[in-house]
Symmetry: C2
Subunit: 239 residues, 2 copies
């Protein structure tokens, strides 16, 4: 049972957590918003471990994460898995599926989460009428390409400590953009998932966490992280 969600409420939610630029819609009049309202539906909540979609599923809709977080992963035929991203509230998920009309990865909830369904055919129809929506959709897709290229740089030319520092710094910025602490947070993913994302084994992730703690950069206990030296963490991968 899907129920309609007010786009005003959606925008309000976004504004409340400083997500204006992350969420759809943007810069729309009240009338235009009503049109977004008509195509946007709130789906049921997802519990930790639930699949939002699986690789191979028919593609019908993009999904905007309203609360919680997800991981996306691609599974190699030989069983290898690669985590391709961790997505948080306000981010759009499923763009990879447009080109084949089928999902190319799994999306799995990392905690209790809510998503908004955006039927893609209706989104395309509406974006033909609303140039600012069209431009926004293009920017979101382009941003995903840039993000992926950043990960390629990370995987292709950084050492373990640089990768982990960049990962923590990125998380920090994203929490801050949502109004949460940039220095204290709970990791929603396991060492194994972090390792898969960063091209490292879980033991290496764990060791590097310990090393960062030893040098006073962070304080870490299981999934609770405190960043003690944000500039130092940044210098770790940008110098």
């Amino acid at each position: 049972m899907q129920r309609s969600v007010s786009p005003l409420r959606l925008k309000a939610v976004c504004s409340n957590c400083n997500l204006r630029e992350l969420c759809l819609p943007v810069d729309l009049s009240v009338g235009e918003m009503q049109q977004m309202d008509d195509i946007c539906h709130l789906k049921r909540g997802y519990a930790r471990g639930d699949y939002l979609y699986r690789s191979g599923d028919k593609f019908l809709s993009l999904h905007a994460i309203r609360s919680g977080s997800f991981k996306t992963q691609v599974l190699h035929e030989d069983g290898r898995e690669q985590v391709t991203g961790f997505q948080m509230a306000g981010e759009i998920i499923g763009l990879d599926a447009i080109c084949t009309d089928h999902h190319t990865c799994d999306a799995v909830a990392l905690e209790s989460s809510e998503v908004c369904e955006l039927p893609f055919d209706k989104l395309e129809m509406l974006s033909r009428k609303l140039p600012s929506l069209q431009r926004h959709l293009h920017k979101i897709m382009s941003r995903e390409i840039v993000r992926d290229q950043g990960i390629m740089l990370l995987l292709g030319s950084m050492r373990a400590e640089e990768r982990l520092a960049a990962f923590l710094f990125n998380l920090s910025q994203r929490f801050a953009a949502r109004g949460y602490s940039s220095t204290q947070f709970q990791l929603r993913m396991s060492r194994q998932e972090i390792g898969s994302y960063l091209g490292l084994k879980l033991e290496t992730v764990s060791r590097t966490f310990s090393q960062f703690q030893g040098s006073g950069l962070i304080s870490v206990k299981a999934r609770s992280v405190e960043l003690l030296d944000l500039p130092g963490l940044h210098a770790m991968f940008s110098s």
Copy 2:
């Protein structure tokens, strides 16, 4: 001095090399093609080493490669460079720039090349009128995301020989799609550039080439490559 290029000729060029699905435009009536014609311009040729654009340049147009090939690279502040892709005829380049209105990487010609300029504002305007063009643009962007995720898988979870085998197999398929031999071709890029793309040092690339030759998978002399065992090469990274 830019001169107009007939979209029919563009399509013909594409059809000739089996690139229908790679090139813009697709599935358009003669009238719709005329509209594409009005916004598509042939730029001057580029020689090996010429920049099509540089990181930081203002973004105005996408570029369709008509002949030749390019590499895209991102430069890290500390001098590290990462090659993010090698683009061939029929492929669209510059999608990463949409999100910030500025290019986020350099595009450098690997050989004598010609490109078609596609002013993005006009492309957006036209794609609001032509749903099949709109859908095609979205698919091209989505395909780029999928491609990047494939490289993330490669960089994050494959060994040197698997990476190089996947690279050669991919080149083979792309040459085949353009009507060239899938088993004999000239590499347009250096060992160093291949290494940067694959997250390896040039010595490792060179050694792995020699190893493949030793085991009868390929025959390689400098930049001339012959793939002797395509199934074997495929098994190398997919099993």
